[in-house]
């Protein structure tokens, strides 16, 4: 069972939940309040939704051996544009105006994703630098949109994206799950997933077998931009307002962590959308756990660093081999050669 690729991420998530259970049994209490479910677990789902979305987009990008550092900036831009439009409306609760605001924001995010895709697939720039451009400039653009202010909004239909409920569950997690199910179906039930893995696994072989990798690459960056845009709307709706400086800060790093924890390798090829969702939930649970246990929130980053380090080490084949070797001393005398080959 430990061989299954999702074993360690799931084990880590369960271990974390176990800590919560021991420390504070009420952590698992879910009750019906105001016509919807209420409790810490529901909060984890609600607050984890933006990270899940960004993570799904990022996973497909990473599958093609790329990376998208700009998602945090896109989150900020998306929220900024939507809030700017909403704040200018005479009636913020009007559904038409809200839909227009969401449409404008997502349209811009599609364009930003297309820009990243253009740089990577047409100009052939390394993904990490290509998206670094928008990562740096994007925060500036978001501040330009909000004019350096924090725009607060009151629109009820818009706020539902972040803190609304539908069928007892938070709207945000329903959206995230819908995106997850749709993208999983798309990549696993059609050839798309195979093609993405082919592009990332061995671009040259993919090209020789007649794969049009350019279009696929373009597609995944546009998709990542769209996911980041929706996540940006959720974060803005939850605030509620647009903070160009802090919205989505470090979310690109969290998303990359999530997919790494979920077993997707940054070197491209095989990917796991389910693993990313678990990774994202793990990160969100970690944050919530730190609050629950009453650890001062200044230590959140420290705990996060240690847990992530542990998960990465456990997943590292080299580390596992070493631990095993230490536990059962010299079984295979041929093996240790690996460690000395370069340091000699």
């Amino acid at each position: 069972m430990t061989k299954h690729r999702l074993f360690w991420p799931v084990a880590a998530l369960l271990a974390l939940l176990l800590v919560d259970l021991v420390a504070k049994p009420s952590f698992f209490k879910i009750e019906l309040r105001d016509g919807h479910l209420y409790g810490s677990l529901i909060d984890i789902l609600r607050l984890g939704a933006p990270l899940i979305l960004v993570g799904i987009g990022m996973t497909l990008v990473v599958a093609t051996r790329g990376i998208d550092l700009s998602v945090g900036s896109v989150v900020a831009i998306s929220g900024a544009l939507a809030c700017l439009h909403l704040s200018g409306l005479p009636d913020q609760d009007a559904v038409g105006g809200t839909v227009a605001a969401i449409g404008m924001a997502l349209g811009l995010c599609l364009a930003l994703g297309a820009w990243n895709g253009f740089l990577v697939s047409v100009l052939g720039i390394q993904p990490i630098i290509a998206t670094l451009i928008l990562m740096v400039a994007g925060r500036g653009i978001a501040q330009l949109i909000t004019d350096g202010q924090i725009i607060t909004i009151t629109s009820a239909p818009f706020r539902a994206l972040g803190s609304g409920y539908l069928f007892l569950l938070p709207v945000s997690i329903l959206i995230a799950m819908a995106v997850f199910v749709l993208s999983t179906l798309l990549v696993r039930k059609s050839a798309l997933g195979l093609l993405l893995e082919a592009v990332g696994g061995n671009p040259e072989a993919g090209r020789l077998s007649g794969l049009r990798s350019g279009r696929l690459t373009w597609l995944v960056y546009v998709f990542a931009g769209l996911c980041a845009g929706v996540a940006g709307l959720m974060i803005a709706a939850n605030t509620p307002g647009a903070d160009a400086n802090h919205a989505g800060l470090w979310i690109e790093l969290d998303a990359i962590l999530a997919l790494t924890i979920g077993g997707t390798k940054l070197t491209g090829g095989r990917f796991s959308l389910g693993g990313t969702v678990i990774g994202a939930l793990l990160i969100q649970t970690l944050t919530t756990t730190v609050y629950t246990l009453g650890i001062p929130d200044t230590a959140t980053l420290l705990v996060k660093a240690l847990v992530v380090l542990l998960v990465c080490l456990v997943q590292s084949p080299v580390f596992r081999a070493r631990v095993r070797r230490r536990r059962r001393p010299p079984v295979s005398p041929a093996e240790p050669a690996r460690a000395v080959e370069v340091s000699a």
Binding site: Q126, I128, L132, A137, L144, L253, T267, L302, C312, V318
Partner: protein
Amino acid sequence: MTALDRVTGYRPQQRHLPMLATLSLLVGAYVYGASQYTAFGSGQVVFNLFINYSWLLVVAVGMTFVILTGGIDLSVGSVVALSTVLSAELLGERGWPAPVVIVVVLAVGLLLGTGMGALIHYFEIQPFIATLVGLFFARGLCLTISTEAPSIDNAFFTTVAQTQVPLPGDSHVSISVLIALAVVGLAAYLLHHTRFGRTVYAVGGSESSAVLMGLKVARTKVSVYALSGFCSALGGLLLVFYKLSGDPLSAIGTELDAIAAVVIGGTILSGGSGYVLGTVLGVLVLGMIQTLIDFDGTLSSWWTKIVIGGLLFAFIVLQRVIARR
């Protein structure tokens, strides 16, 4: 061949082109600034660039080594902040003597860098992830040590901070500038005149070839991260000399500035090609943009980010064009 022929017949080497482009941009920006604002023309504006950005310069030099091997170090901003917080805590709360504090701060940076390097090399954790853990860890340590930004009134630190080294032409620089320039000189020597430097380029060019050539890849890879950690800690100390306070939330996003400076300076992110001097020019370009925006007075601070993004784009496209020829 007359001297004139030699000048007109000069064709720069291709690998120097990005650096020359950065240099011409820097000179162009300065000439533009001098033509627009009279105060800009004084030499002190240039020296102020060094004074304000000496700390970033040192950080970016460390980053150059890492990027030359094909790696990346995201932790530098957090390590800079940790150095400032640690200095403030040890000097202020604990009352340790200044030399001891400096040694401890540098040792912590070196240790963190070595740890990340070891994770990357021995456990094959990707540089991006390992240094990301470093980013969270160091920033977490900062916040655990202190959530406030106390000012520093240690006699040694204030003396170093306030001493002005006079230069001809009624200008001056700070001691930090001299330290930063020494670091640049040392780094250039290390890269171009030692076995270690050659190995750095070789690892960046192709790690497996370097291993097959019998080069000390393990030691080199761990060393560059150790060096980057050390440079970040030193950069943090220079930031303390500049601001005389220890702020756990300072230097957020410094890793981006450092990476941008290295890229604008002509070093290729996949490793194997670039110069420390280019990084110096890259940092000066970033500083020059900020200075121009400050002098203008009507442009908001976010234009800095947008312009830097645009410049990154221009330089990366330039590198592509050179590489394709």
